[in-house]
């Protein structure tokens, strides 16, 4: 397998008028002594979709998980560097992670609905953060399920178990559950990898529809998916981001050899 230099990098600056939703500055992730992410600095533009691509083990999921500090829960892991969100470095003990995760939600690779009803899955976090009124909860359940393109299929069985849904429906329920908190940013870790092509297409439509209210960062192994849905693409390799650019440019005229080989399938 060819070895690509980690020093050969191209990170596109966002246009001057672009609003940055969240950005990382020299983000490093350590598992014990091992450094899994070697200082990644990336900006994510508001109301855009940014795709993180790269081979397995390149650190894209680790990077994504550190943005809303999910790595906090992993024993022996340590994250250094800044994560700037609303002018605040959220990678700091002064920041309340629970409050922060209200604004930065996450959808995981495998659909992970709770063993509760569809309705309770969506209202779980809302109730805990103090939304009590039944009418308000009903309203949020309906809007989020509509946004996640699930409402028509489940509106008559909201109180049935979420585990009875198909994989694609479960994943859309997980998205509905995440956006019910009205987050600013949605992190998606290979959300379509366990889904069939039809469910994947629906999921992509949902993402496009959500774009006008939130910023999405998505890890994907599917390069057509990255090309279809994302505005920006970051190519990860061995714990470093080698190239970040507009998706169009990454897939047509990449500036780095490794990216070129990866997107054209000549990698390795």
């Amino acid at each position: 397998m060819a070895n690509y230099s980690l020093d050969d990098r191209f990170i596109r600056e966002l246009p001057g008028d672009a609003e940055v939703a969240v950005s990382t500055d020299d983000l490093r992730v350590f598992y014990g002594e091992h450094e899994a992410i070697h200082g990644v600095s990336l900006p994510f533009e508001r109301y855009k979709i940014t795709a993180l691509i790269g081979p397995s083990g390149s650190g894209k999921s680790t990077y994504l998980r550190s943005i809303n500090r999910m790595n906090d829960n992993i024993y022996g892991s340590r994250v250094t560097g800044n994560i700037m969100y609303r002018g605040l470095d959220i990678n700091s003990n002064a920041v309340d992670v629970y409050e922060m995760r209200k604004h930065i939600g996450m959808v995981f690779q495998r659909p992970n609905p709770f063993a509760k009803s569809i309705y309770d899955n969506i209202t779980f976090a809302l109730k805990r953060f103090g939304t009590k009124s039944k009418a308000e909860l009903d309203e949020i359940v309906e809007t989020t399920l509509k946004q996640a393109a699930l409402w028509d299929q489940v509106k008559d069985q909201l109180h049935k178990s979420a585990l009875a849904l198909s994989g694609g429906q479960q994943q859309r329920l997980c998205i509905a559950r995440a956006i019910a908190m009205k987050p600013d940013i949605l992190l998606m870790d290979e959300p379509a990898s366990a889904l069939d092509p039809i469910s994947t297409a629906t999921l992509e439509d949902t993402m496009m529809a959500l774009k006008d209210q939130l910023t999405i960062i998505i890890v994907t192994h599917n390069m057509q998916q990255a090309a279809r849905v994302s505005d920006y693409t970051a190519f990860f390799y061995n714990g470093q981001c080698l190239e970040f650019d507009e998706t169009r440019k990454i897939f047509t005229r990449p500036k780095i050899q490794a990216t070129d080989d990866y997107v054209s399938g000549n990698f390795g």
Binding site: R86, G87, A94, V95, D96, Y98, E99
Partner: protein, 308 residues
């Protein structure tokens, strides 16, 4: 404006975070209490049990290897005799024999419940086995006394009391423990192992014996060791059927004794601080160290199983 609000909310320590700190303190207090109790028990038993060797100047090696146990009377050497070997052998004897007899039965029963009659197994056999675990040991001992001992007397002669009767009662007692842990171990084997094996043309028996049981070995071993720990520590039921003669067992059907049976029958009849009493504490110390050893073995098996 809204921006500032969100920022302020994130910087405020939320109620949840504060409650969490309190929760951490409470759970730490709970574990501290448990650790304290364990340390206190160890300290108490060890200080009493070691007094035999420090205060009463009994030789440790004599204690472990001599076969004559009469701490209340003075022996031919002008010293009380505290040789615990008969009890040690009795305890290990009934424990290992019971485990050896129980293991094949437990594996057979578990296979029937998990691989052959899965529905029936889950619905009827599992509750039956759970019920068996909950039967008080005095009931087992009583049945042993009124059924097993006379049966052995009729078949083999002698009094009927002895290691064989103890083994039989313990075998029945640990069988449900070992069985239900074996069932758990087999359940934990992923079904794709079975599919993979079946797809290669392996028969049901080959799949079960070579793939499923092989993968379940650490769990099954843990179950057996758990059963042995229970057998080793069982006092009442064994005391009722073993005959309680503190001498080296000649065979399986002559009266013998175990560490626990000597402890339960002797502890009420001795004076605190005397050699007789201290010697019993030494037996208790052996029991404690053995249960520690069983625990370590279980952990070790678990760790080795996890690596694969």
């Amino acid at each position: 404006m809204e921006e500032d609000k969100i920022r302020a909310a994130m910087l405020r320590k939320s109620r949840a975070a504060r409650i969490e700190q309190r929760g951490r303190a409470i759970s730490f207090a709970c574990i501290a209490l448990i650790v304290l109790v364990v340390v206190a028990i160890f300290y108490f038993v060890a200080s009493k049990g070691l007094a035999t060797f420090y205060q009463n100047k009994v030789n440790l090696w004599d204690f472990l290897s001599k076969t004559s146990w009469s701490p209340s009377t003075t022996g031919p050497h002008g010293k009380p005799e505290v040789g615990a070997l008969p009890m040690i052998i009795g305890s290990f004897g009934v424990t290992f024999l019971a485990a050896i007899v129980a293991t094949p039965f437990a594996i057979g029963a578990a296979l029937f419940m998990t691989e052959i009659a899965t529905k029936w197994g889950a619905k009827i056999l599992q509750p039956v086995i759970d019920l068996l675990v909950g039967i008080p040991s005095v009931v087992y001992g009583f049945i042993g006394l009124s059924v097993v001992v006379p049966a052995i007397r009729n078949v083999f002669g002698g009094t009927g009391f002895g290691i064989l009767a103890g083994t039989f009662v313990l075998f029945i007692m640990i069988l449900p423990t070992v069985t239900s842990m074996t069932v758990d171990a087999i359940h934990a084997v992923p079904s794709y192992y079975r599919s993979a094996s079946a797809a290669l043309g392996a028969t049901r028996w080959q799949t079960t014996s070579r793939v499923v049981l092989r993968a379940a070995v650490p769990g099954i071993l843990t179950g057996i060791v758990f059963g042995m720990a229970r057998a080793f520590g069982e006092a009442l039921a064994v005391q009722m059927v073993i005959g309680n003669a503190a001498m080296l067992p000649k065979d399986l059907i002559s009266p013998a004794s175990t560490l626990t049976s000597v402890l339960t029958s002797g502890i009420g009849n001795t004076v605190m601080g005397s050699l007789e009493n201290n010697a019993l504490w030494s037996l208790a110390l052996i029991l404690l160290l053995m249960s520690l050893a069983f625990n370590l073995v279980i952990r070790w098996i678990g760790k080795r199983g996890a690596l694969k």
